[in-house]
Amino acid sequence: MTKEELKTYLVQIFPSNKVDETFDFPLMFVDKSELLSVAQKLKDSPETQFDFLFCQTAVDRIPNLEVVYHLSSINFKHDMVLKVVLEDRETPEVPSVYSFWKAAELYEDEIFDMFGIRFSNHPNLRRIMLGDEWPGFPLRKDYKDDINIVSL
């Protein structure tokens, strides 16, 4: 499907979710309680077949945190973006999509390392790059490091 077709398709299938578009891809906001069912539907439905998670990352938009999923279909060669907005900054938690896309394991490790977002049912959630003793989460906007980072 083209970008416009995919956008109208998403509006039809998921009428309760807000559908937008980025520069490249159609974009859909999902509540974190619906994430697994929406991901299941997008992956298994024969019209979309989103079988490839080619990027998963997070964004700190103060005060919310966003988890971003970039999905792609090997067969149809179309892409889309899923976003989950988390309002809880202290203990943010999302269900892991590892059961649908195996690639999510290392992406989610990295997001946990950099943003402190926990993923429930993740097989091995760990601080993959910084190490267990690292204080804070460096990619959050409110991260403070008086020794290494010179802020104006």
């Binding site: 910084l130 290494n148 980072i149 010179v150």
Partner: protein
């Protein structure tokens, strides 16, 4: 002075004459011969952490060929090296590894800091939570080579500067015995 008198050297080299009537030895100092040997057979460790390592590889390979200047072989084990070229950014996670590699090298050992990252943390990464601000915070550095990354000519120049440094150093330093503190 009698000009017809034969020249007789003070040093009785004649007793070392071989069958061809020549004396086959030279006289030098321990410093100069040892430094000459050391400086012309530096074995670098194959260690590169980012884009400076690409220039390092270019310097090793056929076009620039640092074997011409005596850096013949790169060794993958620090126990066989006497030179480590820090080519690239050193993060806090890499710093203990670099320190251990340096400690595993046999003495005398030399360090070249190649590029802006190894000198000061880099042109882009210095304001970061994860980057060491200069490799001289971890290990002592002999030669700094500026550039981002330095060209192979600059690297060769830096390594020949290191050779000059070695040639002008004392090969054998006999330290005076330290006094005990309790006296």
């Amino acid at each position: 002075m009698d000009v017809n008198k034969d020249f007789i050297p003070d040093f009785p080299g004649d007793i070392y004459k071989d069958d061809t009537g020549k004396t086959n030895f030279i006289v030098t100092s321990v410093d100069s011969i040892a430094n000459w040997a050391r400086s012309n057979s530096l074995w670098p460790l194959s260690f590169g952490t980012s884009c400076c390592a690409i220039e390092l590889m270019s310097t090793v390979s056929a076009k620039y060929d640092w074997s011409r200047f005596g850096f013949e072989v790169m060794r993958a084990s620090p126990r066989q090296c006497d030179l480590i070229i820090v080519a690239g950014t050193i993060t806090y996670k890499m710093a203990p590894v670099l320190k251990r590699l340096y400690n595993q090298m046999p003495e005398p050992r030399y360090v070249i800091a190649m590029g802006a990252c190894a000198i000061s943390g880099g042109p882009f990464f210095y304001n970061s939570y994860s980057v060491v601000k200069g490799v001289d915070n971890i290990i002592p550095v002999d030669v700094y080579i500026p550039g981002c990354p330095p060209r192979p000519e600059a690297l060769i120049h830096g390594m020949m500067t290191l050779q000059n440094k070695i040639k002008n150093s004392k090969a054998y330093v006999i330290e005076n015995p330290k006094k005990e503190e309790n006296e």
